[in-house]
Symmetry: D2
Subunit: 319 residues, 4 copies
């Protein structure tokens, strides 16, 4: 099983080289052999086929929301396991060829998303520049790196500037300084990494369509066991309008008793549950369990019940 | 452990002889050696001391409600276990000495509760009779059995008439023909009888006073696992006004997985839970579990989770 | 409408003279003309017939629980309104004839409940005394007041000692020093007294038998509007075992928007709701509403909706 | 206010001409003057500026999920109102120049989404054809319409074929025959159209971040009033990872009492609620209200409470 701390084989990522996903991968495995894939699907299929030990893909962005290609492939494709999450501030740089001064920049090349996210900065600091939108920020950096390029600067990730030998003229030019993208490192299906005490668990729950209040019931499985919800996204199952599944992150590890019981409850009330992994939180925040929902509370309750009816658990196993 | 089918030792009951409790005891153990006790407390203490194998006491009446002496003694006294329930229609008889004709009855003796529950009948059928209220319906029968008695008739249980050699002049004279009393046979603390598939479980839940919505949370432990509530009574803990515990009957046996999980949930959210037993329903009604809450749903969920993380249950036990 | 502050007519109470109910009545209306009734039913019927302006009856005791005669009469009898509550510490006194010394007391007369609640004190302080149980604590005081009485002392309310010219030898002899009885002053059906900001509201909710989770739904009407529950008692409707109604006290006045909305919700999900009044809390505690449930939150929400669709409320009224 | 039945002014849509949105617009307003806009944002801003009376934009697709540009613009932009919904089966056609036979098609042009959704059909029926992906299905049709084009066929909406004079060689070639896109006609902020009895209401709820169980509480506002949820999408508020709002469709009209009360409840428990309109359901399904949640149940509860305290509603208004 893959874990950032001891990754040995080839790691895939949603490329090309020089993208934020690439930068995120280097941040956790600087020395790994990295292989870019042109789509999320291909990056994940490479894990399934064994071509990569694990692959890194974006799953959520604080501005754009969920990355549907990732959510749907994990939910509906052959089983995989999330083994790690990575958070990366989305920071754009103005990259130029050595010698170009910022005040002389007249023509800028970038990707439409990047153009949109840096519009205010460009208007204010490069009032005379025109911005052309191209296929990717990495490709923009490559183009600007050509000494014959008609473009003076690229708006791209810092890594792309470095990769193509450009100079970062100005860093952190995104209008929303707090934008963050969350990536997940996905390995083959298998048991999760050991719990650290500050973990997340990701599942996909398919509700029964004919069950009124199905989503409420899904949420109660967590709330009723003191489990905090970090993220919930509804996704169409592609069967019919109004037929949804829910991609959910919760605080805790499948080895935590409250998570175990909540997942079992979820399994009972849902048409299908896909378990996608338990892994350490990137932000290191340790969740606090409220009274009645600590590990000890769960163990005490187990012990209490065993004393009441010592034969029952045996009987259950025989059934 | 005591069970009506194979009761061998002395059985206690809340007497005296000839009461409805006595009649209920005979209905389940006609050949047992029966011993009357003058209060619920003494009948239950006899179980605790080993003087009786089990004792029968009333717990609920469809007209009067819960029998607080029984509820409080079971909740707050030394541990005991309910091993069986008995339902008895509350049917009063007009009992006379042989030879007395109903139309000649002028003076009737009975207990105030019985007088109240037969008032309409007496007014209609014995318009010229006066009713005197005494200490118990059984004592009334004993008094009337005396040839020198100033009373012509007693309103009492059929068993009291038989016991004192009276003739039942008219049977079933209670105004509410459907009145029922529910009794419980209480044995020493111990593992419950095996589940029959149509069982009840009784517990007492002490809530945290400082927890808003505590009762709601208690009920959700059952509702969230598809467990049906048969009875709930709030009782003061005797500590302060507003400090309650709840005496609760639910459909199911502690060996049923949905009951096990609900009880463990209850244990986590309550200050204290007293388990009072799981026993066959007297009415034989088999409860139907809804989708998601059958035994199979619980076993499937257990199995599913074991496949996800086979090591977790071991880890839990070590913790 | 009756209110302790301006009670002018005859006030009834559950007597006889010298009981705790009598003492509670004097505590709120020392100068009123008071009339004792031998039962809760008669005291309440006197309000219905206009014989009394209002009557005081016990409704709850911190040791014994709900007073079922009161709960059932208010729930099922002709409409009445609770206009005030009174809390009285249950404090027993050892009352003797003038000249009797405590150490010489050998024979004590009292009511069984009082004997039970003072047992430890008597054992410790009057080790050589015998206790006889009679019909009421007030009657015991009357008997002891007779110079020819065979009894040396009565255990009774202080008021009974005063009433019959006895001397209180020792005060506050109850084993549980914190025992409290709660009484309600009941007037004819009518609009409630104005809200004070620290009020209680009492209702009785009859649930649909065929509605699973009916009690949970009842509680959610309150919890979902931030309304705190002070007391809940289940009572049989007398129709069949398992057919209950719930007597409920909540924090707040029917003029509070959160109470109004909760009551309307209750009316929708229940077979029947009996409103029994809104009245000032005897303990003067001012409840604090949480965010989202203050009066202002309710008014803001009304205003917001009116702006969205100004025509809707008119339409509703026409429907 | 705009309503499909009596649209008189210019209607905007997310273009270009020949797209599914265009086709959806013609289906509800065949004779209207229609104006294409190159983005959802521009189509909606045209309503805000008064340039169009209303604009039609896609909001949800049964395969791709929510259209985030539409969801975010409606939620976070200046106020607008949804006045109508339109459902359109997503049906692709193989469009050729007159005279071209299907078996002779070798080069196909279309948009990547369309290529993906027709892949199986193309593989089976045009095994020798190559598919080129371009900017839009409408542009593909325009290109193929050029007699000198190197492409033999376009995969596009039927309307695009008609618009550019192509022949539909094969209709309904999408692999998923049930794919549907839902569009909304958006007008300026204002009171909603009258209720029809089969309506939907759309709102956006911003939750308090520091309120545990906030989403559960949001859902309970609807479930607790018997309101059925049709769609829920979480969207980032763009402030921080984990800060969400929820775009929600429910069954019913703001003039329905259960919707009014649910919306007021939502307003109380949320940081902010954006009301986006109540409008007739495109599928004409009439929702059935369960016991306790019909219009009559709400009116009865209002009436009942008015009788209890006639003065309270006046008092509320004064507050």
């Amino acid at each position: 099983m893959a874990d950032g701390a001891r990754l040995a084989g080839v790691l895939g990522y949603f490329g090309p080289q020089g993208t934020f996903t690439h930068q995120a991968l280097i941040s956790i495995a600087p020395d790994a052999e990295a292989q870019a894939f042109p789509s999320v699907m291909l990056a994940l299929d490479a894990v399934r086929s064994g071509e990569t030990e694990a692959s890194l893909v974006p799953i959520e962005n604080s501005v754009e929301g969920g990355v549907t290609a990732t959510l749907d492939n994990l939910a509906m494709g052959a089983p995989l396991t999330i083994v790690r999450e990575v958070l990366l501030p989305v920071q754009f740089s103005l990259a130029v060829r050595a010698g170009t001064k910022t005040k002389d920049v007249r023509r800028v090349l970038t990707h439409p998303h990047a153009a949109a996210q840096c519009r205010t900065w460009v208007t204010r600091h490069l009032p005379h520049a025109s911005v052309t939108e191209g296929g990717s920020t990495a490709a923009a950096a490559a183009e600007v790196a050509d000494p014959d390029s008609q473009y003076d600067a690229a708006i791209c990730a810092r890594i792309a500037a470095e990769l193509y030998g450009l100079t970062v003229a100005v860093d952190r030019i995104a209008d929303n300084a707090k934008a963050v993208t969350r990536f997940v490192l996905v390995g083959p299906a298998g048991a999760p990494p050991a719990r650290t005490g500050h973990d997340k668990t990701t599942v996909v729950a398919y509700m029964y369509k004919d069950r009124p209040g199905a989503l409420l019931e899904i949420l109660e499985q967590f709330a009723g066991r003191g489990v905090n919800l970090c993220r919930i996204e509804s996704r169409p199952t592609k069967a019919a309008l109004g037929d949804y599944c829910f991609s959910i992150d919760v605080d805790g590890h499948v080895a935590d008793p409250r998570i175990r019981e909540a997942l079992k409850g979820l399994h009972r009330v849902c048409k299908k549950v896909v378990y996608l992994g338990s892994y350490e939180r990137a932000d290191g925040v340790v969740p606090s369990a409220t009274r009645g929902f600590t590990d000890e509370d769960f163990y005490d309750a187990d012990l209490w019940l065993e004393n009441i009816d010592p034969t029952a658990s045996t009987r259950s196993e025989e059934a």
